[in-house]
Symmetry: D2
Subunit: 454 residues, 4 copies
Amino acid sequence: MSSSASFFSDLLTSITEQGRALLESRLGRPGEVSLADLCEALLSGRGEASGVAIAGEVLERYRAASRERKLAFFETLRDQFGTDTDEVRAALDALNADPADQALLHRLHEVSEPRRQELIRRLNLAPGGTRALVDMRSDLLSMLREVPGLADVDRDFEHLFSSWFNRGFLVMRRIDWSTPANILEKIIQYEAVHEIKGWDDLRRRIGLADRRLYAFFHPALVDDLLIFVEVALTREIPGAIGPILAEERAEITAEEATTATFYSISNCQNGLRGISFGNFLIKQVVEELRRELPGLKTFVTLSPVPGFAGWLRRSLESGDAAIQDLVSEPQREALAAGAWATDAAAAKPFETVLPSLCAHYLTREKDKKGRALDPVARFHIGNGARLERVNWLGDLSPNGLTQSHGIMVNYLYDLKFIEKNHETYAATGAVAASSTVTKQAKLVPDAKPLVPAA
Amino acid sequence: MSSSASFFSDLLTSITEQGRALLESRLGRPGEVSLADLCEALLSGRGEASGVAIAGEVLERYRAASRERKLAFFETLRDQFGTDTDEVRAALDALNADPADQALLHRLHEVSEPRRQELIRRLNLAPGGTRALVDMRSDLLSMLREVPGLADVDRDFEHLFSSWFNRGFLVMRRIDWSTPANILEKIIQYEAVHEIKGWDDLRRRIGLADRRLYAFFHPALVDDLLIFVEVALTREIPGAIGPILAEERAEITAEEATTATFYSISNCQNGLRGISFGNFLIKQVVEELRRELPGLKTFVTLSPVPGFAGWLRRSLESGDAAIQDLVSEPQREALAAGAWATDAAAAKPFETVLPSLCAHYLTREKDKKGRALDPVARFHIGNGARLERVNWLGDLSPNGLTQSHGIMVNYLYDLKFIEKNHETYAATGAVAASSTVTKQAKLVPDAKPLVPAA
Amino acid sequence: MSSSASFFSDLLTSITEQGRALLESRLGRPGEVSLADLCEALLSGRGEASGVAIAGEVLERYRAASRERKLAFFETLRDQFGTDTDEVRAALDALNADPADQALLHRLHEVSEPRRQELIRRLNLAPGGTRALVDMRSDLLSMLREVPGLADVDRDFEHLFSSWFNRGFLVMRRIDWSTPANILEKIIQYEAVHEIKGWDDLRRRIGLADRRLYAFFHPALVDDLLIFVEVALTREIPGAIGPILAEERAEITAEEATTATFYSISNCQNGLRGISFGNFLIKQVVEELRRELPGLKTFVTLSPVPGFAGWLRRSLESGDAAIQDLVSEPQREALAAGAWATDAAAAKPFETVLPSLCAHYLTREKDKKGRALDPVARFHIGNGARLERVNWLGDLSPNGLTQSHGIMVNYLYDLKFIEKNHETYAATGAVAASSTVTKQAKLVPDAKPLVPAA
Amino acid sequence: MSSSASFFSDLLTSITEQGRALLESRLGRPGEVSLADLCEALLSGRGEASGVAIAGEVLERYRAASRERKLAFFETLRDQFGTDTDEVRAALDALNADPADQALLHRLHEVSEPRRQELIRRLNLAPGGTRALVDMRSDLLSMLREVPGLADVDRDFEHLFSSWFNRGFLVMRRIDWSTPANILEKIIQYEAVHEIKGWDDLRRRIGLADRRLYAFFHPALVDDLLIFVEVALTREIPGAIGPILAEERAEITAEEATTATFYSISNCQNGLRGISFGNFLIKQVVEELRRELPGLKTFVTLSPVPGFAGWLRRSLESGDAAIQDLVSEPQREALAAGAWATDAAAAKPFETVLPSLCAHYLTREKDKKGRALDPVARFHIGNGARLERVNWLGDLSPNGLTQSHGIMVNYLYDLKFIEKNHETYAATGAVAASSTVTKQAKLVPDAKPLVPAA
């Protein structure tokens, strides 16, 4: 993989002295040419003969800049590289006179494009440009709240990245123990769900016959990953994460497995936030595994329910009577104290009620847009998966207890039904669930209606 | 290279039966779902769960369609997937009320985007989508003249391809005799300037120490090329193509060479017409060669002058006195008859006047936009190159005689001056030329002014 | 493949000046150090510190030498680098005293090894040494007849090459249209059975769905082949070569095929004569194809019978009555004239008798060692294959007519029976043949006994 | 690298049922065929048609056997697969009659070869055979002392391995942080000189600009290493190992370095003991680095002196007066106690005497064959290196103190002088040393003569 790295370092990397002098003379002033000047030169087309070099210089100067100067650069993008309102005004006037003219409509579309978009496209001319622009957006995202109006700038990055990182340009690769170490160390670093505790732990996840890891790469981000998913091949649907990550366990051969469990999925590039890959990756891995291992019949996730504990606390506090009736005062205290999970006797009283409340939470609780309230549910249900099982005591890690009261759930990917599930969910908000889960949810009597009022 | 092909055939390739039934039921009618229906489903987002499959089906059906049905498909794209004028109207109204509101401006930009653009992006989800879309545009370009309004459709393809085939995503590779044969046969097929006459001829161009060939690839167009350039390493600037392509000639080592001559550059993808790569490729090759072979001091082209003979004929016919005075009636007849070139005595009278007329043509004759009239000159001069030399009897092939009266020219790429040359040309239309060429051009007395009136 | 080439050119390539001066001073004479001197220095161990360099110098000087000097070098190897007879004498004396002493036996084995063997091993230290030594033996083989005693030298090369080119060190690769051109051109050059008429013909043999080509490589012979076999995937056992090599024919998919036909097998390295690879290659290809295409049930060759026409002519001439009775005088004349094959009427009289004679020839005629007389039969029958079918009018090329009277035969590789067939043949000389072939052979009445007298 | 693994698992892996029945019937007894029987079948040539399968079965059965059965197998090799003494006797008789007959000499050499050698060659036919045979010899070496006569068996392994692992078949590769993890974990495991403490430590040795690691591979030992050397690029010759391995240190660029220091060299395959690679590896790395980094002027080792402390103790004990005089009684006690090194005051008294004794030890103390007594010195001096510097307090690790009294030394590889150094050493035993070291050694007055008496 690394051999292709050289492709991207093969270009003229600085503007010639003559070019710089030219820029300065054109700008009518000696001395340092500013980043904004360079951007204007790049956009003007007059710098076309050395566009690659100018783009490289902008990106390099940006990279080396302080946080203050970076912020100032984004403000420049916001203020000086937005839509040219004079041009829009002219196009509007023309269009007002003849509202159906396609050429005028097209002209309007063109001139209403913020100048930033073309600037970003041209910055991408530089070797390593895509990498630098993704990092630039990562900076930008961290500043959005500080400065008003930067969201406009971000919208343009997101628009272009959606096109550039189109699924058609992504490459899926299996990661295993013969993958170069520089890729593997990134896996360790990027894993966001169940921390990888060093190289031995990593090897247990990719180097054994019943474990797999697949990732999406983009050719322009050499030696880096976009997203990856970890898979356990098992003989049944697992209900807890502990046995999957255990140091000592009975390995099976890939051919013995009937079930593929997606137990962790991690996005790797902060600068690509909002560009969705997970849906495609899961489905492609399902296809890949089906082809390689015909014995696999079931494809599920083993997922946390990150919003459950928070939702339950709020429900109990806010006086939702149907919920409150199911949890006694001592139980509430035990939940808040958090010590119940490690003691079988203390856990017993929750064994029925918590999974039921969780089933209710996942299938009926919605956000303002009528989507599943839980973010992980929103992702998988939106992909057309079905909520298959709610597992009691699935994740007893501190984080698992704090967020999900120890519960983990399985979402089932059945390619035959994902379209129908997705369609129904999109149209009505109804969450596809197994009959068991549906029954569990019914323990909560006075439930909210399945679909929020229109 | 071919090993990566499998990445792109790794996806679910057809909509499930359930998915198709769903589409049909949603459309309220049984039977065949039309291409337009599928495109709507893809755009609607309701088909999101199986977007990859729907995109694949659209592209496969398109591929298998007759020319009539393809044309009908483009008409559908023109008529049903243009800009949503109601939305534009609403956005206009809002903006008319508050012309400076950035969010409204952005909204206007969004809704004025033809729906085709998002459709094309989603079609690219399919495995092999980019390849199929490039081929689709190739079809479209061949139909532009037949059907009004298809240029609007093409504009959207071109806009997206400009972004997708941004120089930042291209990969340059050297092609040599150890390159896979399936790539090499494409070189033979694509060469557009000096035909490659089979594998032995190809080997002479890539397998010898003083010959090079470099190409741009795009990761999504597996095993195919975008553009390539052929280079001869020589001891001086060559004036004729014959010795370069000769079967028998004295080979030199790469280290002995002082000059790299770009003697052929060919675009390979008809569907990418209008997306410019040549400028970047030449400059990257210059950089690559400079690094590898420090002995190289001069980088030139050996180029045809494809518009020269036509321009001269028109000038002589149209009664341009300054030109007519330089060419006697018998000479005109000899030129028209075309037999002069192979006979030294017959050629002698043209030895001074034709190169001078050519120098004049290249440096002073402009199109309506003030650019060099000759298309090859327009390209190299626009890149910042300098017209270095006009070579008498450079290409005695039938084509060379018919188009260029046998003349070939050298454009010099001197990285130190390309910015300045480009800038001057862009600002004033002045063509950078060596003093020799400038002197030659002056033989044409009553020359047009160097720059067209504003 | 070519990327690994650099590994082998990565070494110090000449002895230092100091090293050369040292050699000269040691040899007690100034001036040119001879090849023999260098070889002695290499063997002496005193040159150990620069063994790689000395070996490289010997090989380079050899390569550049004239044929005379090469011959002289081999004579030196014969005369000065044979067994050290003094040492053998001493070891013999010791062993005569105590004939069962293992250490003495071992000592005898060591000292009876010609010094050439260690010399050849040390020459292999040089980068590219294996390649150079294979070429050296190719020269040697061409001189064997000219000079007495060179066979002794050759025996040492053969002994070492048998070990170095052990099947365990060979790598099988499929060759197809995505193979580098420098490998493909060697295929064209090396094909020895059915000439490849240029790149288009090659493409028909490797670039279509129902054609395959597999080769053995050795890691030390970078970018070169040892042996390759061409395979046609068909729906039945073919009886003629014409349809297989035809420019126009109906291609089938690999999955439709039931039969794999090995229609050409070519050794590539003259310098490896006598080192057998074909047996291993055929069997490995059978295994490979069985795994990839479970639909393949039959593995056969389509082979010439190169000794048939010569044997028949000799039999008719030498007055073997049983044979003579089967061929009338006019038929003999027609056979000798050779014009019968292209004329159906003229061919008719031979339709039964020639295949029967051929079946007889292949199954019953033996050489002095009791092995099949025909060299191709000897190879396949020795591998455990069975003579399956004798095909009338299988190869009407001039060569096919001259050598085989147009007959081609199929040898069947049935892995279940190859051991038994081989064993029986090795023990008794009996050639495994189908019942049809056995019946055909019986037309020749007074046949030689199946097995030669002991 | 791992992609080529599949080449070697591509063969028929078991004898067919028919083949096994055949073997049994031939052996005249039903039931299990023994390992010895299989070896005889393999050697007999009668099993030729399935030689690959038989070889595979022998190796697989061996692999799965207990230590007892493995030992029994080696005894069988010793007793039943040695030299055929009858044949030797016959050859001897013939040769006694005509002692100068080359053909008889050659015959004698052939028949005196133990049958084991051909057996081992044929075992190598199996896929993975070389790997299995190297592991087999590793077992054998561990049993040599237990059982008399196994050294004869080992000699045959060593003879063949010397030929198969000839330097001409080795491939050098740089190992860095983009190397597959399965190779890297072997580096961690094999490092024998300065332990690698996990992946972070490894990364410091291969992932930084001023560190290198090079290894030899053999194509038949897929994904495994033969030997590797670790290199530090520095600005001067280092005198201590601590700063080189330190977690925190100032990194320099490769271009800034003037000196390449080989600070660790590790053999990886126990089964290849006695086959020498280190000499070639060091010299090839020197060449590689010189080409890549012309700024490198000095190539040295930083080596332990593993025999020094032991030799000194013995010298003091055995009453060598010249040595005893240099070390006072309290000093001897301090040395024995070992606590002096961590205390500057306690170390002071040794600062001159220990390095001098070490210089003496390295340059003058010889083994019975007249070679340097210290094993590491023997290796580098034998390669033609020069003892450049003796470093006080170079390695304060427990091991460094115990073996070398904390001293480390530099051997200098100057390609210009390695031949002369090697030659002088081979002829006279004289150890090449810098003038400083020579002076230090002279502190030991009544030194042994430089070269042992003949």
